[in-house]
């Protein structure tokens, strides 16, 4: 989720990864791994659970002398930690831009 000024300057950014964060099967400390042959212990589970709603709230601060911001929300599915190529190893599930302003 980002917020940008009308001239495109990013003033807010928050990114969160939802997944079953697995630890190394050799239990070497706090190392998180992806490979199925390595995964065993679990470090964090923050996936979207079936028939449940997850709510995220963001408090976006307006920079000085800024009256209007574009808020961009994107929910993306991606195979790896990097965005990669959209449509190949990364897919946009949802995307919207909303304007929010102050008087």
């Amino acid at each position: 989720m980002t917020a940008k000024t009308k001239d495109g300057k990013e003033v807010f950014k928050s990114e969160k990864i939802y997944m079953l964060h697995a630890g190394d099967s050799r239990n070497e400390g706090d190392q998180m791994v992806y490979g199925p042959a390595n995964k065993l212990s679990f470090l964090e589970e923050n996936t979207f659970q079936p028939l449940q709603t997850k709510m995220e709230t963001y408090d976006v601060k307006f920079p000085e002398n800024t009256k209007s911001l574009d808020v961009n929300v994107e929910l993306r599915f991606q195979y790896g930690p990097e965005v990669g190529t959209i449509g190949k190893d990364s897919w946009v599930f949802y995307k919207t831009t909303r304007e929010v302003s102050i008087k």
Binding site: Q49, P50, Q52, K54, T57, D59, Y79, G87, D89, W91
Partner: protein
């Protein structure tokens, strides 16, 4: 066995007595020694007979299972080309599915398996020094439990051939075998085998009993498993922690079982991924994957509420702000993401 042995020993004593009647008397020790040698010879004969008998008995009760010696032979054992003649639409759907390229997947499977093989080569106790050391046992307890369950019907030569194909990125070889009609409708179609027995060799399992117009698979058998989530759960489960090496690709069935059903969900895997969409393609091939808006819409609801911006009058130094609320509801029968 012991009784037969004693009887022969006694009979032998009697015949020795007759044979020795006209002969010069020998010492008791020499008779005993000769007798013991004879008994040893006989007992050896019995051991040989017993060892010969056991395999013969086994053969009588369980027919010899032919194992594929090459990938081509395994492909031929699981040839489904005749299915297309009568089930053209289903066959075409399946061809689009990721099941039809189960050793390749979206392409990521190849990289994943290559990584796994490299791992196992590096593991001290795996028994794998190079790709060709991979055996059926290595595969069937890991990747191929799901990606190629019919590896059980192959020799270690096939296991090695596939491992080497992975390391050479030889996708033509990897494409020869897959999860096809026979894997689901025969090999994996009976779950409670202590009660129901192994799948019949000449039957396809589905919705009805009856005959089936095929030269090899002449019968149809009704199997409740085919429409139950547990059918899919045989593979789309996890984590697999009861193996010599851990493998955790998917946790879908666990999520379905422990989260979706308790939350009030009542659909089966097949209802969402087959019945309500495009049948045997299972909505899973790369062109109909996560970028399919219809599927994403079915799975996730996203609501974004951007609250009106506000500023504080009493605390003028506090910067104006706006609250953004994002609500994401998962309507699927399992956690998202998962595999």
């Amino acid at each position: 066995m012991c009784r037969a042995f004693l009887e022969i020993r006694n009979e032998r004593k009697e015949s020795d007595a007759y044979r020795n009647a006209g002969e010069p008397r020998r010492s008791t020790e020499s008779i005993i020694l000769e007798e013991e040698v004879t008994v040893m010879k006989l007992s050896r004969l019995f051991v040989i007979l017993i060892f010969m008998a056991v395999p013969l008995t086994a053969l009588a009760t369980e027919p010899e299972v032919r194992k594929a010696k090459t990938v081509d032979e395994l492909a031929a054992m699981y040839d489904v080309s005749s299915c297309k003649q009568c089930h053209a639409k289903i066959f075409e759907e399946w061809e689009k599915s990721i099941h039809s390229r189960s050793l390749i997947g979206t392409g990521r499977t190849v990289g994943g398996v290559q990584g796994a093989i490299k791992n196992w080569i590096s593991f001290k106790h795996s028994g794998v020094k190079e790709a060709k050391d991979m055996t059926v046992s290595h595969w069937s307890t890991t990747c191929f439990k799901c990606h190629l369950p019919q590896i059980e019907d192959a020799t270690d030569a096939v296991a090695a051939q596939i491992a080497e194909a992975y390391m050479k990125n030889d996708r033509a070889t990897l494409a020869k075998v897959n999860i096809n009609c026979l894997v689901c409708h025969n090999k994996m179609a009976v779950i409670n085998q202590w009660r129901d027995g192994k799948p019949e060799k000449d039957a396809v399992y589905g919705a009805k009993d009856g005959t089936h117009s095929d030269k090899v698979y002449k019968n149809r058998r009704k199997s409740a498993t085919m429409t139950a989530s547990v059918m899919c759960g045989q593979c789309h489960q996890g984590p697999l922690i009861d193996r010599p090496v851990t493998t955790q690709c998917s946790t879908l069935y666990g999520s379905y079982f422990n989260a979706y059903l308790p939350a009030g969900g009542d659909k089966t895997c097949q209802e969402c991924h087959m019945k309500e969409v495009d049948g045997h393609s299972m909505f899973s091939f790369r062109d109909r994957n996560y970028n399919d808006p219809a599927m994403v819409k079915r799975a996730l609801d996203v609501e974004v509420d951007v609250k009106k911006g506000y500023k504080s009058i009493e605390l003028p130094k506090l910067p104006p702000s706006a609250k953004v609320v994002v609500k994401i509801t998962n309507n699927a029968g399992h956690r998202i993401p998962d595999g």
